[in-house]
Symmetry: C2
Subunit: 335 residues, 2 copies
């Protein structure tokens, strides 16, 4: 290596180091939308412990995997999972071509406004509807449908675009983790192809880090161009036991950090917690009826009962939204 080059490298490094120190001091207060208290403290302490070289609990950057449930963890899920609203809108769009749906359940209930009961209750019905609305087109066409819907549809209660109903404290948490060398993944019961078109813009999570429910697809040539057709059959359902199974299948490492909010996340949190060394399994508890919704074991959507019991028994971090979050929704929507 020639002396000129060595000199330049050394000088660059000195300046960079100085800059990094300044940045580090400024970054000593991450998570600005989280209230000070034991929850915020436990998260920051965990991150500092696993990222401090020489610490007995140090974890190399490549192994810093953080997984997040989506509905109720990264964005709201009331009064219906947001993909449910997409589904209802799809059923309404397709209904003129299916006059039989007026009499036929579960479509009839759904068309008359009982979406919450249908989509929250019976898995079989939900699957029938998802299949009817989410298949029979190419992956490319489905992506267009999702993009069109997500950029125009509004939440029936808040009248905001759904992508503005993401939680500001969770955006900050994911950014903080990424700045600390973590790779962030979504592990959600929602459809992979429903989340991927907007997850990168909204969460900073690229398509290849979205693990969700998938339908089977078929590779076909269509006008000499290959397409993947979405078939009316589930390929993988990413809830309950499906979450650790999906994590192993898609990611292949036990996460270091997992956040969930319902009983559908229990196994993912257990699986994370059981990994070697220190792990952070955390539960978002919806306790703020004024700023968001307050619900747990009485709600069919985001039902939280076993997971909260386990969290308390195991000493997992439980985020109390009312107590722990200064702001709930995406910054632009906060006063």
């Amino acid at each position: 290596m020639n002396p000129k080059r060595t000199f330049l490298i050394v000088v660059s490094l000195v300046f960079l180091l100085t800059f990094c120190c300044i940045a580090a001091v400024e970054n000593a207060h991450p998570l600005p939308s989280w209230n000070d208290g034991s929850t915020k403290q436990s998260i920051i302490e965990f991150v500092e412990t696993v990222t401090t070289e020489g610490s007995p609990d140090y974890v190399a950057p490549a192994q810093r995997i953080a997984v997040f449930d989506n509905d109720g963890t990264l964005w709201a899920e009331q009064p219906l999972y947001f993909e449910g609203f997409f589904t209802v809108d799809r059923v309404k769009t397709l209904a003129p071509g299916h006059p039989e749906w007026k009499e036929e359940e579960p479509f009839a209930s759904l068309l008359t406004g009982n979406a919450r009961e249908v989509l929250a209750g019976d898995v079989q019905s939900m699957q029938e509807i998802l299949i009817a609305t989410h298949s029979g087109m190419s992956t490319e066409e489905f992506e267009k449908l999702v993009n069109r819907w997500i950029s125009t549809a509004k939440h029936p209660v808040t009248n905001r675009p759904f992508t503005q109903m993401v939680y500001q404290p969770m955006l900050e948490l994911m950014a903080y983790l990424r700045a600390s060398g973590f790779k962030t993944f979504i592990v959600s019961g929602g459809g992979s192809e429903f989340m991927r078109p907007w997850a990168e813009d909204v969460y900073g999570i690229p398509p290849e880090q979205v693990v969700g429910t998938t339908v089977k697809t078929k590779y076909e040539m269509c006008n000499n161009k290959p397409v993947l057709m979405r078939l009316p059959e589930f390929d993988f359902i990413d809830v309950n036991e499906g979450k650790p199974i999906g994590i192993e299948k898609f990611i292949g490492r036990v996460p270091l950090v997992a956040f969930g909010n319902s009983d559908g996340d229990l196994q993912m949190l257990q699986w994370t917690d059981a990994g070697p060394g220190k792990r952070l399994s955390a539960v978002i508890h919806h306790t703020d009826a004024e700023r968001e919704w307050a619900y747990d074991d009485q709600s069919p959507i985001g039902h939280l009962e076993e997971t909260l019991k386990t969290a308390n028994a195991k000493g997992w971090t439980v985020v109390d939204m009312k107590r722990d979050w200064k702001f709930i929704f995406h910054k632009e929507e906060n006063p």
Copy 2:
């Protein structure tokens, strides 16, 4: 921003820029184990075109996905896919507990040394053997088996560890792509859990970027600790049409670059080629009987016929190993 900080940032950037220019000049000769010629040139030209800002074919870093078949593309595959040797060793280890295998096909042939015929020929037989040897244990136990095998087993012809039979030019190509902002993925018919334990060390590809064949797993509590048990049933077979299906399912973007070497890669190469804008679909042709093996449409392993025809018809890059590669195997093994 305070003036001191601004000054430091500006000075750092100036020095960094100077350093980068020097590095860029030195990096102007990537792929040192590739002979100069049209193949190397076409790869470098492609990478420069899609990574040059302002170019009409510029692709943002987040969308720079490169996928690689493994057997015959990143490491050798003769006289048997290397996972086949692992499988034969597993059958031999398990044979004392299965006296019936002496009479029962496909195990009998395999135990008497006809692995190539069995494992290359009949998919049904191969599946039976894979199932018998790759399931009935937890994912953690399977990982240990693979780690033990890969660190001790030797190739029967070269007597080298299998991980030293990776192709040096492909290691350089993947490093060059990553230095150019690409994310590199394996998309292989081999088992995901067979490749993941060593792919990071050997190829620099982390587990979450390995897409392969998977078996179903079951989430169970075992002594109060969750485990994923490998079941005797395929979950996903990542060959032929399975490759674009797997790419969409696991990655969710059409690759910008794809390398394969057999008819099992045809659909992956077509899918990549059909993406919008410039794409690089390339075929490795095994032409060097002296330094490696020479085979194509007469070999049951790595059979190459339709893919080569399509490559020639479409003008895809065809790598002629004998002509294009200065060295074949991992550097340490080259003279």
